[in-house]
Symmetry: C2
Subunit: 130 residues, 2 copies
């Protein structure tokens, strides 16, 4: 399974690394040089350059033309495609969370009123009349 080169796959692959995601988060505050981007990470300049190349190939960043200074800037357009792809699955994770939530509520209701499992159909009224 060699890496896929369609644009959405390139974007997802570029995002599959915490350092690259941290670089994008930094660039969200404004353009930065390789030196500025390297500072917060415990990795070499060449390692940062490698990460930048992956981000650039996925068009998540653009770099200036100046040979010496080449500032990087965020290009968020590919993230729109990620958001749109992911959005199609929203109802699946929401359904799952809703079911989990209902289940937890059932468990809680049972533990708060032990022996009152069947009280839905006016069982509660009958019992208080006793």
């Amino acid at each position: 399974m060699s890496p896929s080169t369609d644009s959405l796959s390139l974007t997802f692959a570029a995002l599959a690394d915490p350092t690259r995601r941290a670089i994008l988060a930094r660039l969200a505050d404004g353009p930065a040089t390789v030196k500025e981007l390297s500072a917060p990470f415990d990795i070499s300049g060449p390692a940062v350059t490698k990460h930048l190349r992956v981000l650039e190939r996925a068009r998540l960043i653009a770099r200036g033309r100046e040979a010496q200074w080449r500032p990087c800037q965020l290009e968020a357009a590919p993230l729109k495609d990620v958001a749109e792809w992911t959005e199609r699955y929203r109802r699946y994770w929401e359904d799952r969370l809703n079911r989990l939530d209902e289940y937890l509520k059932t468990l809680q209701a049972r533990s708060e009123r032990p022996g009152h499992h069947e009280e839905k159909h006016d069982g509660h009224r009958r019992r208080t009349k006793k």
Copy 2:
């Protein structure tokens, strides 16, 4: 740069392949066996099994316990993390699209009314009176 193993990185890496995304799309319709999942793709059963292992490791799918039949089903919870991570960048791609949109409108306005660049302030009325 060895692959990162934090859960968001695992999710992004699993999504960086069109076949794996197609498998998730199929599973959104309901559980399926490996044989059913292999059918639409021009790849071998073992290749599909490899893809399923990547998806399973990222907790994007779960597999049944039956040794023979082991149906796969979608687990969308990790996609919620993807959506939340991506959402933080929404204003960046929207800003960019808005700027592009304004620029295109300016270009269009110029090409539709050559020589009438300054007509914003009741310039139109003046023209129809001519």
